[in-house]
Amino acid sequence: MLKLEKICKVFNPGTINEKQAIRNLNFTLRDGDFVTVIGGNGAGKSTMLNLIAGVHTADAGSVVLDGQDITRLPEYRRARLLGRVFQDPMMGTAGNMGIEENLAMAYRRGKTRTLRWGITNEERELYRQKLKMLELGLEDRLSAKVRLLSGGQRQALTLLMATLQNPRLLLLDEHTAALDPKTAHKVLTLTEKIVCENSLSTLMVTHNMKDAIRYGNRLVMMHEGNIIYDVSGEEKKGLKVSDLLAKFEAASSGEFANDRMLLA
């Protein structure tokens, strides 16, 4: 359903900060795949997600989603097909607006904004039910401003917003990296639940190798802008962190020793 073909992306071309973020990347995602993406800093994980989401436009190659070439489609026009959760909990929600107002924004993802009233009463009931599922007590605080919520609550809310209208593809960009371990675990469990219940095709970038092995049905490892390891099914289930570390070592001849991958 998603096909990346021969993608290249260079940042700051022609300057001293030139960086080839993605090199001739090919990647195909099947319907219903839940793929975890790992790799060191600067491996191109986030860039790949941003190329799919339209934050960046590829220098070469094509992005095809559901048979439609979206390589040059502006970010806001792809949003109809994509649900996204960011690393920064502040990024996915509007802090000065209420919980229900944020959900209402997400409920209309990809639709034309008209002069109809921003939130209807039936919607409020729907939001209340959905929020109950998070088990964070947010269902009783519909009109509370989002800036009053904790990072974990905001990520859970963003996740709910990303999936309120079933997206064709869910993009999770290290969405638990900024959370404490306990909250991160809670948000990940919730992620798995939502993804399974709606059988969503998902791409999840993570720095945590254990999580990368535990969740999803397929794992890809990136290095220097390309995928160096792609494993799925039984083989993936049998993976150990030490296997992944060995792969990293082999790919980068030891430079990962200093990376924060080791801390994961």
Binding site: Y76, G92, A94, N102, A104
Partner: protein, 337 residues
Amino acid sequence: MCRLPPCSGGETAEDGRNALYGRKSLPAQRMVEMMGGIIASVPGATAQGLVWGVMALGVYVTYKLLDIADLTVDSSLCTGGAVSAVLILSGMHPLLSLLFAVLAGMLAGLVTGILHTRLRIPAILAGILTQLGLYSVNLRIMGKSSVALLRQPVVISLGNIPMALFIGAVSAGAVVACLYWFFGTELGCAIRATGNNRRMVRAQGVDTDRMKIIGLVLSNGLVGLAGGLLAQYQGSANVNMGRGAIVIGLASVIIGEVVFGARFNFAYQLGAIVAGSVIYQIVIAFVLQLGLSTEDLKLFSAVTVAAALSVPVLKQRFVRTKAVSAPAEGGNRDAEA
């Protein structure tokens, strides 16, 4: 204060004052006269504050909701005034002329919006460019640097303060009602969210550039309306009438927030801005009565607004200094966090 004799002059008041203070208390007597002048200026200042309140609402839309400091308003206010005045002189009904004042303001906002979004010029600079260009346009519209509306029909005038108060209140009230409705709609919500978190809004499938343009158009439309009302109120349009308008708008927004607090619903907050504008005009009338010359007024406004804008920062710094100095080292880390 309310027990003072009537201050409109006349013999009874004079006698009353003499009886109250006697001959020796001349400073007190002067103070009473001054108070009288101040009280007498309140209705006019209130009417003017209501008209400026419409402009302050426009500034609020860009400055607070969209998080853009739009300097177009310094000229689009005059554009609105000039269009209204010229059309009235050519025989148009003053009420209808206000519609064209709104459209002219909107056009100015559209130019700034396109410069900012499509051509990626920083918002402040885009506003300054439009403002500068409009100065010439305003002179072209009027044909000279000012146009007087002598014995012309107007909807609001300082010659009839009670009527001006009524019209001013109706205009400001109508604008508050319209804005309350608009920012509750899907489109209005998307504009508010754009000012809050652009990335999130794009991820929800909204074209943030379009939202910014709509916000700027709406804002300058209101400013144009205020300009038209103001020209009719003071009986003339003048190429310098909008100079410092952005500062007056910001002052009104800040006063409204400080005095009435950012609580209750959105309509209350919009009303607070109009009230803030009225308070600002009364304060200005007050300092003018105290003897501040009109030439120094702009400096006074600028200093006031700079002080008001810096209050949150100074407050925070003060709190932090206290947090650092009170406990030894642990507190320092907390304060940094």
